[in-house]
């Protein structure tokens, strides 16, 4: 039987407010353990939460960007469960009245646009972190708790079960991430946990509408995990159904190392969270005027920026889409262009050499050792004919490690392009004399032979000869003979 895959995502994003959601402690990542704490986030007896208004503002910003309705009256609730990283043994979150509802986001996969519904967005507090004494939870006989993360504000963005492939889920997550970055509300670092994703996955016979039994997949800590985890889970469920079995409603955890998912708990073992309205907080009242003000001040979002790059710089749809996935990448492009570089050339560099190096070093564009201005200068050297494209790659390599300007490297290493025709002719003549067979082949009409001769000339010049001049001078000399 053919099955339709049904996927909904729950995305958690840590907001980059200066202070925590219910107290004045810093949200800084990577501080020494248990230093960003106070009686309130430690949940000591007698403390009370006070809502950080910035969190509400950020939630509204995200809600508007995701086409949500902003509820003028929402409230906080307590989700009760015991876990040592949760000092109060309840999480303060929003249950039946979240701040944003009924949104949507359009994604593109294989050139097709699809609208993904967004059920709700709510505000909540993050939990602390357990530091296990052993290599794994099961092999540890004790654990320590770091409460620095306790009370860091989170938004949970819950989608409708509108995605039908791992690719769509990934595209949706990437687009959400881009929007959050553009809104400047989250660092979105999956590796640091500031963007996390759970997937609800089920299958149903193709053409039917009733939802199948779902499994919730947790621990999808990278885009790669999201895609692989969903692919694995859909295959697993298909196998269960094909074998005549039934999918069990359960929570599963993804093991990226082993590439498998494991059952954590079934529906019967699930917690009863015993939600109750948070009596220590007053309802969240959002003034429509405030919403209008936030809407008016929303920054440019990825879609708009893509359109702008196409219109202003003449970038292709594909290039503009790739560049604008990351706000930092698009910012980099804009900054380079501001330094007089040609946008298309910058785009090529960003998608080529720059991305390659970023991937190799596992860093983000924000950490790129070559500044936008430096890349613009490198491109300018190619443009002026000072260096060839090929030499430019060598220079870029050097810039990456030494952080020196392109011009300095070119001078230090004597990499200036040879554009003096007499100098090039001397080399060309030598190459022609040394390769009679290739010369004969060329004259016999084998156009390919010239490539070999160009290569030999470039090699002789240590790559410094102007390739266009080499090409034309070679032809001139060969045809002249």
């Amino acid at each position: 039987m053919d099955y339709e895959i049904v996927i909904g995502l729950e995305i958690h994003t840590e907001l980059k407010t200066k202070s925590k959601i219910f107290c004045g402690c810093s949200t800084k990542f990577g501080s020494p353990q248990n230093t960003n704490v106070c009686p309130v986030c430690l949940g000591l007896p007698g403390v009370l939460p006070v809502l950080n208004e910035k969190v509400v503002e950020y939630a509204v910003r995200v809600g508007l960007a995701l086409n949500c309705e902003i509820l003028p009256f929402s409230k906080f609730d307590r989700k009760n469960y015991y876990y040592p990283d949760l000092p109060k043994n309840f999480q303060t979150t929003q249950y039946d009245l979240p701040i944003c509802v009924n949104g949507h986001l359009d994604i593109e996969v294989d050139g097709k646009t699809k609208r993904i519904g967004i059920t709700r967005i709510h505000m909540e507090e993050d939990a602390g972190k357990l530091v296990h004494s052993g290599a794994t939870i099961t092999s540890s006989d004790s654990a320590l708790v770091d409460y620095n993360r306790t009370g860091v504000p989170l938004l949970e963005i819950v989608s409708e079960p509108d995605m039908s492939s791992a690719e769509e889920a990934r595209a949706y997550l990437e687009k959400i991430k881009a929007i959050l970055e553009y809104l400047d509300v989250s660092d979105c670092k999956m590796e640091e946990g500031s963007l996390r994703c759970d997937a609800n996955i089920s299958l149903r016979p193709q053409g039917t509408t009733k939802l199948g039994t779902k499994a919730e997949m947790k621990n999808l800590n990278s885009f790669r995990s999201v895609q692989r985890g969903i692919e694995y889970e859909t295959a697993r469920q298909e196998e269960v159904l094909e074998d005549g079995g039934k999918v069990v409603q359960e929570t599963r955890t993804w093991d990226e190392g082993k590439g498998i998912s494991l059952s954590m708990r079934t529906k019967e073992q699930a917690n009863d969270y015993r939600y109750l309205p948070e009596p220590d907080l007053v309802p969240v009242i959002v003034d429509p005027e405030k919403v209008a003000e936030i809407r008016a001040n929303l920054p440019e979002l990825p879609e708009a920026r893509k359109q702008r790059l196409m219109a202003d710089y003449g970038l292709s749809t594909y290039d503009a889409a790739v560049i604008t996935v990351s706000k930092a990448m698009a910012d980099y492009l804009d900054e380079s262009v501001a330094c007089q570089a040609d946008a298309k050339l910058v785009a090529n560099w960003l998608m080529g050499e720059v991305s390659k190096h970023l991937n190799n070093d596992s860093i983000t564009i924000g950490q790129c050792p070559v500044a936008p201005k430096q890349l613009a200068e490198l491109i300018a050297l190619i443009d002026k004919g000072t260096i060839s494209n090929k030499i430019a790659k060598t220079v870029f390599e050097e810039m990456w490690t030494s952080r020196k300007d392109a011009e300095v490297i070119v001078k230090e290493k004597g990499l200036v392009q040879i554009s003096d025709s007499s100098e090039i002719i001397a080399i060309v003549d030598g190459v022609i004399a040394a390769n009679p067979q290739s010369v004969a082949d060329f004259k016999a009409g084998k156009e390919k032979a010239i490539g070999f001769l160009v290569g030999q000339t470039m090699k002789q010049s240590k790559g410094k000869a102007n390739p266009d001049m080499v090409n034309s001078l070679l032809r001139e000399r060969l045809q002249g003979n």
């Binding site: 009686p39 007896p45 403390v47 015991y82 009596p279």
Partner: protein, 487 residues
């Protein structure tokens, strides 16, 4: 008369007039503690040394001719669920026997800013759950009027300390009557302010939507003075009221001409001590004689209030108390794993009434029962509140007994939770509605004090003070001092 028998207002005059020093006064109270504490057992923790240091600094200020606050240099007690930086705060629970807060409750900060002296942390029912202090995880406090009876609760230690002369004033907390009922049993003035009038920051939560801190004093004047200090908005408590705090001493007026009193027939329940009923009726007659008008009113949802309270308060408590898990503060029993540790710690160190309410609340919030119990209770709460709204459209104050009986014998109701819960039947609706109320002495039955409850609309504490003051000025009930069996 011994110094420890005066009111704070009288002692303030003595301090300012240099008839007595703060150190002498503090020593008088500390001496009284030494003399009677073994009989009364009002305190979990005493802070004698710190109290004397505070007293010295107050004397220095007086010596330098500086003006001092109304409560400066006057020793008082804090219920042991109010956090005090550096001083153990146990909530009378074994699980917090070793808990030393790193911060002061907002009310403590306010009292300290006034140079008020604290001589100790008062006993209570564990986590404020109870009406007799018999649920304390440490020991039971005795009523100074008759040591074989309970002082009431949960703020029983706070009330007994003031009644015994072991403190001049105290703070309690009131979730369903925990200030008013012990004040009534001990012949004192106890006020539960409007919900939100006093910051709850630093008050260890029992039921957050009902808890409120308030004063227990020897007369209405002292009550007004303390209200002036502790009330007001607090940025650390989102539920605290932004309304301006009036000067409550301006309501110490002996005049209630034209005051409209409502007497709800539903509060005169079966099982009420006839002597209590008689005293209340007599008080009403007296108030009418002083110029008030009185009408009988109906508050039809009163009979459901107690049941609703015993869903809502335990539900909140089951969540509030889940932090006592042995992980990062309080006492712990080691276990084979984390769940085992939770279970052993909570089994060992929480008392049976606390466990009973946690179970009640957990059940009320559970899937499948949530709507039937918890949500229904919230609806009842709304109806109870509407009863008050409707009543206050026609009357200025509602008068009822504070409790159906006077203080009962220690052990008498200890094994009958329902009989114990019924002691709160007149006080609980006030917390559900969030309105203010005060209990004042209005007579004696068999030598034990009777309390009169006056209830007003939200933020109308001034009306309460004026009514209570007028009644007090025309009676002598507050002037008697607990007999302590002659001690």
């Amino acid at each position: 008369m011994e110094l420890f028998k005066y009111t704070a207002g009288q002692l303030h005059e003595k301090l300012v007039n240099k008839e007595v020093s703060a150190v002498e006064l503090t020593n008088a109270v500390l001496g009284r503690i030494d003399a009677v504490e073994k009989d009364v057992q009002a305190y979990i923790t005493q802070t004698k040394e710190h109290a004397l240091e505070q007293a010295k600094s107050v004397d220095a200020k007086i010596g330098q001719g500086q003006s001092i606050g109304m409560l400066a240099g006057i020793p008082g007690a804090l219920k042991d669920n109010i956090c005090t930086k550096g001083t153990t705060t146990t909530c009378a629970s074994q699980i917090l026997a070793n808990f030393v807060p790193p911060y002061d409750a907002t009310v403590v900060e306010k009292l300290m800013a006034e140079d008020t002296i604290v001589v100790g942390k008062a006993n209570m029912d564990e986590f404020a759950m109870g009406g007799s202090t018999e649920n304390s995880g440490f020991f039971t406090t005795h009523n100074p009027w008759n040591l074989e009876t309970v002082p009431g609760g949960s703020s029983g230690g706070s009330a007994a300390a003031v009644a015994a002369g072991e403190a001049i004033w105290s703070l309690g907390s009131d979730t369903g009557g925990s200030i008013r009922q012990p004040a009534a049993y001990c012949g004192l003035v106890g006020m539960k302010p409007t919900y939100g009038r006093v910051s709850r920051y630093g008050l260890v939560a029992y039921a957050s939507s009902l808890d409120q801190i308030g004063p227990i004093t020897r007369d209405v004047t002292d009550c007004a003075h303390i209200m002036n200090i502790i009330c007001g908005h607090d940025a650390k408590d989102s539920t605290s009221s932004n309304s301006i705090v009036p000067d409550y001493t301006k309501s110490l007026i002996n005049n209630i001409k034209g005051l409209k009193i409502g007497l709800p027939k539903e509060y005169f329940v079966a099982g009420m001590d006839p002597a209590v009923e008689k005293a209340i009726n007599k008080a009403i007659e007296q108030l009418v004689g002083l110029g008030a008008e009185y009408t009988e009113i109906s508050m039809p949802h009163t009979e459901y209030a107690l049941s609703a309270y015993y869903m809502i308060a335990p539900a909140e408590a089951s969540s509030n108390l889940s932090r006592y898990d042995g992980v990062s503060f309080g006492k712990r029993v080691e276990g084979t794993d984390i769940i085992d540790m939770y279970k052993k710690t909570r089994s060992e160190f929480l008392g049976s009434e606390v466990k009973r309410r946690i179970m009640l609340g957990t059940y009320a919030l559970s899937a499948g029962y949530h709507d039937e119990y918890y949500m229904k209770a919230l609806k009842v709460r709304t109806l109870v509140k509407q009863d008050f709204d409707k009543a206050f459209a026609n009357v200025d104050v509602i008068i009822t007994p504070t409790a159906p009986t006077t203080a009962f014998k220690i052990g008498e109701k200890a094994n009958d939770p329902l009989a114990m819960y019924l002691q709160d039947v007149c006080t609980i609706p006030v917390n559900l509605a969030g309105v203010p109320a005060v209990s004042i002495p209005c007579g004696f039955a068999g030598g034990m004090p009777i309390g009169l409850q006056i209830i007003a609309k939200p933020l109308a504490e001034e009306t309460l003070i004026r009514t209570a003051y007028t009644f007090e000025q025309n009676n002598d009930y507050h002037k008697g001092f607990a007999t302590m069996g002659g001690k």
